[in-house]
Every structure is written in C-alpha cells, then in structure tokens.
C-alpha cells in the first residue's frame, strides 16, 4: 500500500509546492494533523514561497528590452560571429575542400576549448596506439575483419556506446580488424584499415566528451597525422602516415558515414 510509506522531507517539500498526488496529499495532511510543530513550519514555508513569488512577479511582467529580442541577437551574431581560432581554421579547411555547407559552420564555431583539450589527450593516446600496432607484422589486430560483426559488437559493448567500422573502400582502404585498448582507465576501440600499397590507418574511438559535437582538430606527431573530433558522446581519432590533405577526405568520409547512420534526416548530406 502506497499510503503506508512513511512521510519524508520530499513529501513535505512537494506539499509546499503543491505537487503531491491526491493519495499522497491525503497521507501528508493526516501526518500534519498529528504533528502540529511540523504543520506550522510547513505553513510558514508556503507563506515564504508565496511572498517570494509576489515580490519577484514585477520583473516577469516588465516589457522585454529590445536588446533581448531574439531577432536582434541573431542579427548581431551574424554581423560578428564569435569565432574561435582553432575551430575557425577547421571550418575553413572544410570549406576549402567544398565538403561542408555554411549551415554547419555554427557547430564548429560553437565548440569549446575545454572539450578540445580533452580531445588532445585522446589524440595522443590514439597516435601512440597507432604507432605500436600498425608496424606489427604478426598480430596487428586482435580480432580480424572476417569476424567484423563480432568485432563491432564486442568493442561497442566494452566502450559502452554503439560503434561502427566505417566502410572506406571508396578511399582505397579495407578493414583488417580491431582491438580493445585501455585509455585513462576506460576502454577504447581501435579499428585498423589497409590499402593495396600496404599503408595502414587506424580509427580510434572511446566514450567521452560532454559536447554533442566538436570541430575537427588536426595534429601531426613525427610523421603520423591525426584528425580528432567528438560526436554523440564519442571521441574519434583517425591516424595515418599521410599528410593533412590526404587524411582530411578520409576523416570527412568517416564523419559523414556516422552522421548518415545516426540521423536518417541528414542522410542526404
């Protein structure tokens, strides 16, 4: 019986706010009838709540100043967008290859320095893992590509978010497999691809990043190039021994495949 659940402070607060269900309200009323000191306190709290509302009501009734009109704010942002340098550079790179529409710019521009720095450490780990495993002759991967379904399912479960191994045939790379890696106490996944020339690239993914989406971030360490980004709570890093212009279309292709898979409405992009 719900009525037998003892009265708690949450019930009393919900009583003050008038948010109790009818059955619970009855139980709280019965309790207060037996506890006059508490009843008196609750009565005061209801008065104070009302007093605060009354005292502040004038502010919400004031006409809204024109500087807070959304149309004016949107127009002002168009005139002088708050552009952050790193994100802006990435947006320019996109525009340069004609791969992105203006409407997407806002996403890149709005990304935060904070998540960028989180992305840096993920990129460091991803590049380190890339170096170790791409040069491995005997065991470059833990689970080979002929068990792709199992590989993806297993890594998704360990990383804690649904992953996909993107199809990079159009870029000349095929999946050779993947492995599970530790990263700052969490599980990370590495997918490895190879082209006909024997060049390998890796896609690294781990959960993290509170932002829904960030811009691409490029870095190069000792001949290994990497693009990293955060999308839907996952940090991704694609790394290869290639230069920026070679890697960018691959990063772009991966990003677009995830977008298309995650959001059917954007599939046409």
């Amino acid at each position: 019986m719900t009525g037998e659940r003892p009265i708690g402070e949450d019930d009393l607060q919900a009583f003050v706010d008038g948010r109790l269900s009818p059955s619970r309200l009855e139980a709280v009323r019965a309790y207060l009838a037996d506890h006059s000191a508490t009843a008196e306190q609750v009565e005061r709290e209801i008065e104070h709540r009302e007093a605060l509302r009354t005292r502040l009501a004038f502010k919400a009734r004031e006409p809204i100043p024109s500087r807070l009109r959304i149309a004016n704010l949107v127009a002002a942002q168009r005139r002088s967008p708050l552009v952050r340098p790193a994100a802006y550079a990435a947006a320019l790179a996109w525009l340069a290859i004609g791969g992105i529409l203006g409407a997407w710019g806002g996403v890149w521009w709005a990304s935060r320095a904070q998540t960028q720095s989180a992305a840096i450490s993920v990129a460091d780990n991803a590049i380190a893992a890339h170096r170790i495993y791409v040069s491995e002759r005997l065991h470059p991967v833990e689970v080979p590509a002929d068990q792709e379904a199992h590989l993806v399912q297993w890594l998704s479960r360990r990383v804690g978010k649904p992953l996909t191994a993107p199809n990079l045939n159009a870029q000349g790379y095929h999946l050779i497999g993947g492995r599970l890696l530790p990263d700052s106490g969490e599980a990370a996944a590495q997918f490895m691809y190879e082209n006909v020339g024997g060049n390998r690239l890796t896609l690294y993914a781990r959960s993290g990043g509170s932002e829904a989406q960030t811009s691409f971030r490029f870095e190069e360490q000792g001949g290994v190039s990497a693009f990293s980004w955060i999308d839907k709570g996952l940090s991704y890093v694609v790394s290869a021994k290639a230069d920026r212009t070679q890697l960018l279309p691959i990063a772009e292709a991966i990003f677009k495949q995830f977008e298309a898979a995650g959001d059917p409405a954007k599939g046409h992009l």
């Binding site: 949450d10 704010l73 708050l82």
Partner: protein, 168 residues
C-alpha cells in the same frame, strides 16, 4: 530563426526574473540574460532534444557562477548601487517590527540554496528540471530544498543570517 525566436522568447521573462533575483541589479541582470541567449543561439544546433527550459536556466546559472568565480579571483568589486542595499545597523524600522523582506532572507542563503528556491518556487521548474539545471541527483534537490526553506524560515523568524554574508 523564427523557430528559435518562438521557442526562446516565452522563456525570457522567467530568465530575467531569475537573473534579477540573483543579481538585484536591472542592468547586470539583463546583461546576464543577454549572454545566456547569445550562447543558446550559438549552440542551438548542439541542443539535444532534452528540456529547453532546463537547458536555458542551466546556461544562465553556469554563466552566473562563472562570473562569481571571476569576481572572486579579481577581488570583489561592488557598484554604488550595492551600497544602498546594505542596511544600516539597527536603523531599519522593519527589523524592529519583525517584518523582514523575503528578499533579504534570500540574500542570507548561499547561492545553491537561493537558486533552488528560485527555480522551484518561483520559476516553477519541476524537481527533475531543477536537478538538471543544478547538475545534482533528484534526492539532493529535495534535501537542498528542504534545507533552504528551513534556513529562510529561520531568518524570517529571527533576522539572523544576513549579517554573516555581508561581512564575508
């Protein structure tokens, strides 16, 4: 853009009221609301399908807190207007009569308690929305609300509490 305006504008009166209650200065409050709206517009595409009201109040509250931290780091600076708010000791007729302005009571509380009283009691956020704004579990919302109301009650009855905050 019309969609943004039609969703955001109904929230502005509440955001202005919450900002004013925190800052008690009309210009500064509207500056805070403007910052909040600008940020909301620039991040519109990142907004998840969650609760718009909770999202906006969370942005505003975080901006307010960050502003407080910056001011603390710089050392407190108060405008002339703030001086008018400080009651002359023993001179207020209200305090003699035991009639305290509920806003003075609000001032006596730490920010986290002020915010929860305002968000739940004035802005009518659900407990779940308040938990989202303050980034705390639902259970903590209820106990914080309970503590805040008890403390406000205590202040309104005894008049103690406000002085401590002014001195700090």
């Amino acid at each position: 853009m019309d969609e943004i305006a039609s969703l955001l504008e109904p929230q502005i009166p509440g955001l202005r009221r919450y900002a004013w209650a925190l800052l008690r200065d009309g210009e500064a409050a509207d500056d805070l609301v403007q910052d909040t709206l600008e940020r909301a517009i620039s991040r519109w595409s990142q907004r998840r399908d969650g609760d718009l009201k909770a999202w906006l109040f969370a942005i505003q509250r975080n901006l307010f807190i960050n502003g407080l931290r910056r001011r603390k780091a710089r050392g407190t600076r108060v405008g002339e207007e703030a001086l008018n708010d400080v009651p002359a000791p023993g001179m207020s007729p209200e305090s003699h009569a035991g009639l305290h302005d509920v806003l003075k009571g609000l001032d006596a509380l730490p920010e986290e308690q002020r915010s929860i009283l305002l968000l739940v009691g004035v802005e009518d956020l659900s407990y779940e929305q308040a938990a989202q704004v303050l980034d705390i579990p639902l259970g903590t919302v209820m106990s914080r609300l309970s503590r805040a109301r008890a403390r406000l009650r205590d202040f309104m009855e005894t008049g103690r509490g406000a002085v401590l905050r002014r001195v700090k």
